[in-house]
Assembly symmetry: C2
Homo-oligomer: 262 residues x 2
């Protein structure tokens, strides 16, 4: 099951946009593994989940073409970028690997539901591409990705030897600490959590209300449990394997026994 060759065709995308520092760090991290094709949003697309652009036309623009690296910008969402890459660029053969990120900000806990970084990884998984999303707990646009790139390569090495099974993508979160302060790497589950105080209300010059989404993350996972968010807060790198099939099989059994349609 290992991905043995090192001359990989790698698709890179993200949700912070093609000009973000995080995607540059990811390109740097991945260049030694093969040929890179970047298809990333023109502008920031945070919080886009697995959203697709329906009812509006899309554009795809080549920005750079050099030895081992092609860069395209797409006017759509992260999932659109993956679809565009697959339909327009990888028409003969799918990429060997999709990596998304490195996101500026956490995609642990419930952020995984809203994340465009992970929406792209989910889309890659639907296409049968081994897919990993990388995120960094710092939101700062000038985040230092040195530690993330170092540990990201270790994770890639393991992944190439022992990839996750198809229909699963990995969600990697890096703590906002320097390399020497990172305590280790742990597989774990998606923590429970929720956003609270989500809007800031303002009044426009004409007297009407409008709302900015803001919000605070509220951790609902007991502190002694090794969830992604809890581990990253302690200084670990968390890896959560996420499924595309989100069926609760136990509930099928339980509810089938309780609901009688006869």
């Amino acid at each position: 099951m290992s991905i043995s060759k090192r001359n990989l065709n790698i698709l890179i995308t993200n949700d912070d946009g093609v000009k973000s520092k995080g995607i540059s760090a990811l390109i740097e991290m991945m260049r030694e593994y093969g040929e890179i094709t970047v298809v990333a949003p023109f502008e920031a697309m945070s919080g886009m989940s697995a959203a697709l652009t329906i009812g509006k036309p899309l554009r795809l623009t080549e920005l750079k073409s050099e030895e081992g690296l092609k860069v395209y910008a797409c006017s759509g969402t992260p999932a659109d970028c993956v679809k565009m890459a697959m339909n327009q660029l990888f028409t003969d053969k799918a990429p060997d690997l999709l990596v998304s990120g490195i996101n500026h900000g956490s995609n642990a806990s419930i952020a995984s539901l809203y994340s465009g970084t992970l929406g792209a990884a989910a889309e890659g998984t639907v296409y049968g591409i081994p897919s990993i999303g990388f995120s960094h707990y710092s939101h700062h646009r000038d985040t230092d990705f040195t530690a993330a790139v170092h540990y990201g390569k270790i994770i890639i090495e393991h992944y190439l030897k022992n990839p996750s099974r198809p229909e699963v993508f990995l969600n990697v979160n890096f703590p906002d600490t320097d390399k020497d302060s990172i305590k280790g790497i742990k597989f774990c589950h998606q923590g429970k959590g929720q956003w609270i105080k989500e809007f800031e209300e303002r009044t426009d010059p004409y007297g009407f209300h409008y709302y900015w989404m803001t919000g605070e993350f509220f951790n609902l996972e007991p502190e002694n449990r090794e969830s992604d968010h809890n581990l990253v807060k302690e200084g670990y790198i968390s890896i959560v394997p996420h499924k595309i099939d989100t069926t609760d099989y136990g509930e099928i059994e339980r509810l089938s026994g309780l609901w009688s349609f006869n």
Copy 2:
């Protein structure tokens, strides 16, 4: 665990927009169960998944207020609508039930990943609200929802007696047939599937390419398996319980054993 009282506070949303026929059918279906608050997108928001609007201000406009029914339009996505309802309207007490839809078009199989109807149901579940998404296999804007409303009430009756467990929402899909042709209601799993031939390429008046998302659904589930899509195609109403925690716990075990970080 049953939701015993019949004078419920019900939040209704959708992804086809506040003026769609499907949401009118859902309002009609739910009025006998209690007080209804609709917060739905101004315009069509299909394919929005659980996307949130970050970096753009949102508006919330009251459209109607009558006995037992309040209707608001929100400029954001379906998940934004739920967040807006919870932060601005249900500040004292959460709704007893969230119903989303009735969507014009299937949300079975992989459509569940992209669905704004289900993105809203997921958001409701994060808030701890019992949540159900309803979808109809007909995309037609003049779809006849008679059968859906009839069977939808049967499903609501069962749900109120025996709701799904918290952290799970139900995804109900109705076949595009009349009431007498419906073969029954079945709990089942999310079918495997994918969209193919996803873009139509055109050239604008200035000579540049652009792309419309189109696509065909490709069923990857063996025909003899009782997945949602297969059952609906046979004339059944499918109900899939979907989880918010999408961790693959088996993969944590398996990969922890294979990857050694020491």
